[in-house]
């Protein structure tokens, strides 16, 4: 019996860890997609010190650069302040769109594993009370 309990606990530990790590590192969130503009736009944000997410986005036009948590970059706040997502970096002009890319898989896995821990705890307590464990 103890082997079964340990095995279930081990599986739950692995799924919880995978859920936590997955959501932190592969869980989507704020995403930047840059497009190089051929002409100077009427309105743009002159960026003198872009953060590394913005630099990564303009270095790879058309590709999604996942920022993750919205607090990791202030670019979305600049877009709101200036009312445009056009930027100028080193004399080049880009449109950098700010998206939320949703990946719920890891969060759902974590939620299921948390539910598993609750059920596991109840069963384990019942087994201890009955003297089986």
């Amino acid at each position: 019996m103890k082997t079964w309990v340990l095995a279930v606990a081990a599986v739950l530990s692995v799924t919880t860890t995978v859920g936590v790590v997955g959501e932190c590192f592969f869980g989507g969130g704020m995403t930047l997609v840059a497009e190089k503009l051929t002409e100077k736009p009427d309105v743009y944000i002159p960026l003198t010190e872009p953060d590394h997410y913005v630099l990564q986005a303009v270095s790879n036009p058309g590709e999604e650069v996942v920022v993750g948590a919205w607090g990791n970059s202030e670019f979305d706040e600049m877009v709101e302040t200036y009312g445009t997502d056009n930027v100028e970096i080193n004399g080049n002009y880009y449109e950098i769109q700010v998206y939320s890319m949703e990946i719920f898989f890891w969060g759902t896995l974590l939620l299921l594993s948390l539910g598993g821990w609750v059920v596991f705890g109840i069963i384990a307590v019942a087994l201890v009370v009955k003297g089986i464990l």
């Binding site: 979305d76 709101e80 700010v98 990946i103 719920f104 890891w106 759902t108 974590l110």
Partner: protein
């Protein structure tokens, strides 16, 4: 003669005193000097003979005491017209779930149900109750990622600039299998794409709709530690279980509730 002079003098004195009383009263009531009522003191005889009414004597006009300011006019209801685009992969997901083939009308009905339930909480919590799902478009976009499909749908239907009718918001419902991605929305944008494959995870798909629509009002995701500790539909962890917003997201959406207005 002397009595008449005395009477006139008394009348004048009384009139001056009354004027002072009235002026001080008008000033005291409003806090600022108001229009001063001028007394016609030419008819002293009438005054002295008490043929004038009390109001005439006191030179009083009905005082206009300022009441509470009128309530601000209620802004007209903002109707939010929504165009829903449904693709063939959503049909495939529905058929897979039901284990039978479905006509497009049934898919449209499902899309409308997702829409109705997705906007329900906006009405309950913020009074944003005038979403109208006006039209459904069907299309076969081909194989591509969700983000590309979002752009292609807007290009294909010439939305919003050249679409035959005006719509405030475009929602693309798809069953697109694009890795683990379930949706894309631009913060303060006017369109989003959602994948109904979230149903395979046992997730109510209208929660995904509500989550994406919240981004249009400026709400941000809660992920990682923030997501685990925040009971909110914007949390990546608790989204399947709740339709409510946390205090932070409630404030943001309240502040931007006229985003489409």
């Amino acid at each position: 003669m002397a009595n008449q002079k005395l009477t006139v003098m008394k009348g004048l004195l009384l009139a001056v005193v009354l004027m002072l009383v009235v002026a001080s009263r008008v000033t005291r009531v409003s806090g600022v000097p108001q229009e001063v009522v001028e007394c016609d003191l030419s008819d002293f005889a009438a005054f002295a003979n008490e043929t004038m009414s009390m109001e005439e004597r006191l030179c009083l006009e009905p005082l206009r005491i300022p009441g509470p300011p009128p309530p601000p006019p209620t802004p007209p209801a903002e109707n939010i017209y929504v165009l829903i685009v449904v693709d063939d992969t959503m049909k495939w997901v529905r058929e897979f779930m039901l284990g039978r083939s479905c006509p497009w009308t049934e898919i449209e009905e499902w899309a409308h149900t997702i829409f109705e339930r997705g906007v329900e909480q906006f009405e309950n919590d913020f009074g944003i109750g005038n979403f109208y799902h006006v039209e459904t478009e069907f299309w076969v976009p081909g194989t591509m990622g969700l983000q590309d499909e979002l752009h292609k749908a807007q290009t294909t239907f010439n939305w919003p600039d050249a679409y035959p009718a005006h719509y405030d918001c475009m929602v693309i419902m798809s069953g697109n299998i694009d890795g683990n991605k379930v949706g894309y929305a631009q913060k303060f944008g006017y369109a989003f794409i959602m994948s109904v494959k979230a149903a395979f995870l046992g997730m109510p798909v209208w929660h995904v709709f509500q989550h994406e629509a919240s981004h249009l009002y400026g709400a941000e995701d809660h992920k990682g530690l923030d997501g685990w500790t925040t009971w909110c539909i914007m949390s990546y962890t608790w989204l399947p279980l709740t339709r409510s917003w946390c205090g932070r997201c409630t404030d943001i959406i309240s502040a931007n509730k006229h985003h489409f207005g």
